[in-house]
Amino acid sequence: MRLGLRIIVLIKQVPDIEKVRFDVETGRIDRSSAPAETNPFDLHALEAGLQIKEKLGGSVTVISMSPRQAESSLKDALARGADRAILLTDTRLAGADTIATAKALAAAIRKLGEFDLILCGEKTVDGDTGQVGPEVAELLGIPHAAYVCEIREITHEWIKVVSDMGDKYLYELKLPALLTVTRELNSPRLPTLKDLLRAKRSQVEVWTADDLSEYVPLDQLGFQGSKTRVVKVVIPSTEHRRGIMLRGDEAVEKIGMIILSEVLGK
C-alpha cells in the first residue's frame, strides 16, 4: 500500500515583469526597479501539486535555485500549503544558463531521494526559455510533458494530461514524470492569513553546492558549467499605428504624396 505521491515543485523568483526597467545599453535588468515575486507560472505548478496531494495524499516539496532573497517565494509556497522548502544558494551556482540550472536542480532532486511527480511552470517570465523543466526530466531519465493545460486523471502509477503545443495532445505518462504547466491549468489559491504568518516565521532549508557534490561534478554548475553566454540583448522597437487627421484639399494632396512616396520607395 503506497502512502501518497511525493511531489516536487520547482520555482523561481523573478522581477515583476510589468514594472521592471530594462537597461538597453548594458542589456541588464534593473532588479531594484521592481519587487521580486514568484514566477507566475510556478504558482500554477504549485497549485496542481497541492490539488494532487489533496486527492491522493502525499507531500509537496518546493525547490528553488536562487540568491538568498528568494526565501520569500519559498515561504509563500509553504504558506500556500507546501510541506517542505529547499533553497539552493551558493555563489558557485550563480550565472548558470539553463543546462547548468537543470543540472543543479536534478542533483538536488536526486539528493532528496525517491519521488513520483515533478511540476514546473511552462517557463519563467524573465528568461522565457521554457527549457529548464524538460532538461531536468532528461537528466533524471524520466518522461515529461510540456505546456500541460489539463490533468485528466492521476493514479499512483500514471498520469493522463492534455498538452497545449498549439494543437492539443493527450498524453499518458508513467510515473515518475515531469510536467510543465500553463496558466489555464488552474487558479492558484491564496494562503490563509494564519498559514502565511506561520510560514513567514519559519525557516527554509538552505543547500549549497557542497550538498550537491555527491550527485553532480561541481564544475558543471553555475557560470563555469554554462555552455551558453549572453552576448548581446536587443529589445525590438515597437511601432505603433498612427492616425493622421486630414481635411479638404490638403487631405487629397497629402494622401497623394503618401501613395507616391510608397510607390517611389519601392
Binding site: E37, R189, T192, L193, K200
Partner: protein
Amino acid sequence: MREKIVRELESIVGAEWVVSAEEAVEGYLYDETPIPVRPEASSDVIVVKPGSAEEVSRILVLANKHGVPVFPRGGGTGLAGACIPTVSGIILSLERMNKIIVDVDNLMAEAEAGATLRDLIDAADKAGLSFPLHPGDEGAQIGGLIACNAGGARAIKTGVMRSCIKGLELVLPTGEIIRLGGKVLKNNVGYDLMHLVIGSEGTLGIITRAWIRLQPRSAASATIVIPFERREDALKIVPEIFRRGIIPLAVEYVERVLVERVGSNLGLKWPCTSAEYQLIVILSENSEDALLGALESLLELCNSSGALEPVVAETRKEQDEILRIRSEIYSILKPDMVDILDVSVPPASLIDLIRTVNELEIRYRVYMPVYGHAGDGNLHIHLMKWDGWTKEKYDELRDAIYAKAIELGGTITGEHGIGFIRRKYLERVLDRRTIELMRAIKRIFDPNNIINPDKVFP
C-alpha cells in the same frame, strides 16, 4: 442663434473642437447614473473642447453674453447626473487639457483638468511616487474628481480627494481666471475658497488645473479577504481594526454572490469561498516588518471576533485581481439597477444601518446588494428592478434608508454627491438657512446662473 454661437465658439477654439451634429454629441449627454433615476438630457447641445484656461474664459464670457447654460464635463463617470445637460446649452469638455507635470522634490503633481485618473497614477508611478487614492473609474478626469470631491476605496489613510488638493486654477462663471492655493502646504490667507469649490459639482466655476499632493511608494502591501457568516459581524469589527492601531489603505465590504459573479464575467476566480459576507482589507506599510506586525494584529482580531479563515494576497497580480473584481461590481449590477444609494454614517454606526437594511429586506421580501467603503462608514445599497415595484414603492424604501442614515448622524451621500438626482433630498439634510447661504454663494459666483443650472439646489 445656435449657428451664431457655433461660429463664435469656433472662433475661440478652432472649428475642429466644436461638435454640434446630433449623432456626434450623443456620447457627451450622460454619465454612469442608473438609467431609471437619471434625467432626460437635452440633445440640443453644442460640445466645445477648449485647449486652455484662456479659451475656457472666453467661452464663459460668450455664454454670459447670450445667456446660454454651460455644462462642464469630465470623464462622464459620475453617478448623480451632475454633468447631464438638462436644458439646451454648451457642454464644455476639458478632455484636451490633459498635461501633468510632477515636481518630485515637493511631492506634487500639477495636472490639467482633463487628465484622467489613470494618467495621474501613471505619471506619479513614472516619477517613483504614488497617488494614494483610487476614486473609482480610472477614466474619470481630474477636474471632475475635484469638482465632485471623489472618494473611493482608498480614502482611509489619506482622506478623500479634498485632502490631496493643494491648489486650483479656476475660471469663474463670469470669465475671470483665478488661482487658489498652489504647491504650498500651509496657507492661512483669507477665506478658503479652494475648499468651497472642491465638491461644488461644477456649479461655481470651471477647474482647469490642480496641484495634487503625491506620496512616496509604500514598501510592502497585502490584501486580506475576511469572511463572515452575517453582515453585522463583518461591519462590527471595522471600528475595532482602527482601535488596534491598524490603519489600512482600504477596508471594503463585499458580498460573495456579487464578487463571484464579477469574477466569472472577468474570467477570474474570487479567492475566498467560505462565507457570504466579506471584508477586503488593503494594508500598505513602509517596511516588511511593519506589514508583518499589522497582519499579526489583524489575525488576532479575526480570531476573537467571529471571522472565518481570512486569506491574503501578496503578489501584485493577486492583489490587483481582488481590487479589479471589487471595482467592477457596479458594472454587473447596473443593467438591473434602479438606484445606487451612497449613505454615509459614523463608522461605528454601520452595524445599526445594516440591521435596518436587513429588516427592510425581510419586510419588502427583496435582496438589496450592498458593498462599499466600510472603513469610511460609506455603503452603497442598491435598489434593483423587482417585479411589480412602482416608483412610489422605491421612494418609500429609499426614504426609509435615508431616514435611518440621518437618524444615525450620517448623510445621504458620502461621495457621489447631490448632482441632479438627490436635489429633492437636500432639505432633509441641511437646514433652510444653510441652503440660503449656499444659494447666495452660487449667486455671487454665477450671477446669471450660467454654469450647471438645475444641479445641487432643489
